[in-house]
């Protein structure tokens, strides 16, 4: 059963990476990168169950948290051109 799930997740990973490589705009790549992060968590869980040692799921939490940080950093930079931009300070820039 987990073999089927592993194959599905691995194929999905291949498709998502394809989109990240092809992606015409940067946002396509960010989106695909986010999906790759999710799929890496799923692959980790499924492989853990497949090999009978599902104790490493802590790493999945690490992936999820740092995936969020990376994605938000890229998008913040893209919107404001500066990582440390405090949006509350200059409300004039809509």
């Amino acid at each position: 059963m987990f073999v089927v799930a592993t194959i599905a997740v691995a194929l999905a990973l291949a498709l998502a990476v394809t989109r990240a490589i092809l992606g015409p705009t940067v946002f396509d790549r960010v989106l695909a990168g986010n999906v790759v992060g999710t799929l890496a968590i799923l692959l980790l869980a499924v492989i853990g169950f497949l090999s009978g040692r599902p104790e490493w799921l802590d790493i999945g939490l690490t992936y999820g948290l740092l995936n969020l940080i990376g994605t938000l950093a890229v998008l913040k930079y893209f919107r404001h051109g500066d990582l440390a931009h405090d949006a509350e300070k200059d409300g004039s820039r809509e």
Binding site: A5, A12, L15, F27, A32, N34, F49, L57, T71, F78
Partner: protein, 128 residues
């Protein structure tokens, strides 16, 4: 609860449910990423990607939780699910916002004037 439900039948039901959840989750993960390839623009791709993050991951994790039973593994899976449930819509929202601010608008079938009329004040044609 003892005696009400035959443990063997319960076992069969739980296993069957988890198999169903895992195969459905695999299906949705695949469908979502196929959508990520096939859809025409960023916003529709976002829709497909959210399928992976919520339905695919949710069903796969639910199936694995049924397999693991009441253990620490199950708890960790629940945490991962909650984390994905909170963060992935937020990340998608941020992508959408940044895309809109960069000037990409969704590809729609209606033409520009129709949309300007319905949107009210957005008369000037945006540059893509």
């Amino acid at each position: 609860m003892n005696g009400l439900i035959d443990p063997e039948i319960l076992d069969i039901v739980v296993t069957g449910l988890s198999w169903f959840a895992i195969s459905a989750g695999s299906f949705f993960v695949l469908v979502g990423t196929i959508g990520l390839i096939r859809m025409p623009d960023v916003f529709t791709r976002m829709h497909a990607a959210s399928l992976v993050d919520t339905l695919g991951a949710g069903l796969l994790i639910a199936g694995m939780m049924l397999q693991a039973g009441f253990t620490a593994t199950s708890l960790k899976l629940l945490f991962i699910f909650l984390l994905l449930f909170i963060t992935s819509p937020v990340a998608t929202h941020a992508v959408a916002q940044a895309t809109l601010e960069a000037g990409d608008l969704p590809e729609l079938k209606v033409d520009r004037r129709d949309r300007a009329r319905t949107a009210g004040d957005a008369v000037e044609t945006p540059e893509a």
